[in-house]
Chain length 146, copies 2
DNA sequence: TCCATATAGACAAGCAAGCTGTCTATATAT
DNA sequence: ATATATAGACAGCTTGCTTGTCTATATGGA
């Protein structure tokens, strides 16, 4: 660690590689119209009870940006907007069958992308790595940030 | 690791936090006109012998994008373009005094941003973390990638 | 020496993904 | 009842890249 910037570059490169690999694998599964951010949107939507505003907060973007993203996903058939049971202003987001399939593909892709790391480090070290990251990572929106 | 996507989100969140913190500290030092990517540009330029094309490769962007970034940094007084000793087409990039000051500020900011991590994990675990990341990280351009 | 091909960088136009600002309808609290 | 806050839509703009094209210079082979 002669130059601490190198450490940042390392973490950055790693996350970039991870995102890229997952995206590539998802594309290979036939989902050519999805971008990495969609995976994180799916994750939030599939957890249930999400509105566009919730999604905006989860992704760390404005409501307008989230609304645009949702419109895109609706147009591509991955997401539905349903009436909200208790709030006539809001719309509940829900995955379609295609949306769930894409979510499974992303999950599988992530598993495959991480697998060589587990192998390279060994289960023990990998477990420690995950533990360390969990301790260090902030609770915040999922976002690439520059 | 019930859902491997969580791991990606973790790494992503971590790198995002890191970049953000460094950027905030650099801003606080008075460099309000710099973005995170500039730090990585400075790092490459200060290592010497960089042309715009070299910078493009280092950052993983097109030559045009790099040229635009260089023009911006020249305009702000952080970088100089000098004649290349052996190639009349090329221009050697060089940091000004301000550029070097910004580079030092970024380095210091990175050190400070990482310091609480070292403390949280302890030197031993932190060292292992760095070692693991070094093994896993690709040699590639520095880039946020989505 | 000449020519073909590659490279450095500038100029122009286009585009994707975010932003701010504004609006309506609905909810909530005083 | 009334004031304030929130969900989401619509419009227009900015930013940070992209592709495409051009000139000047370098380089390697006939």
């Amino acid at each position: 660690m002669d130059t601490p910037l190198t450490f940042s570059a390392l973490v950055l490169a790693l996350s970039g590689q991870l995102v890229q690999e997952i995206h590539d694998r998802v594309s290979q599964q036939g989902f050519h119209d999805l971008r990495p951010v969609h995976g994180f949107a799916f994750a939030r939507i599939s957890s249930g009870g999400a509105t566009t505003a919730d999604l905006a907060e989860h992704l760390g973007v404005t409501k307008q940006a989230a609304a645009q993203l949702v419109a895109e996903l609706v147009g591509k058939g991955y997401v539905l907007r349903r009436a909200h049971p208790h709030d006539a202003r809001a719309r509940l987001l829900e995955l379609t069958d295609d949306g769930r399939a894409a979510t499974r593909a992303a999950d599988q892709a992530a598993r495959e992308a991480v697998a060589p790391w587990r192998e390279e480090l060994g289960e023990k070290r990998f477990g420690e790595l995950v533990a360390d990251l969990t301790r260090l990572a902030p609770r915040g929106p999922v976002r690439p940030s520059w």
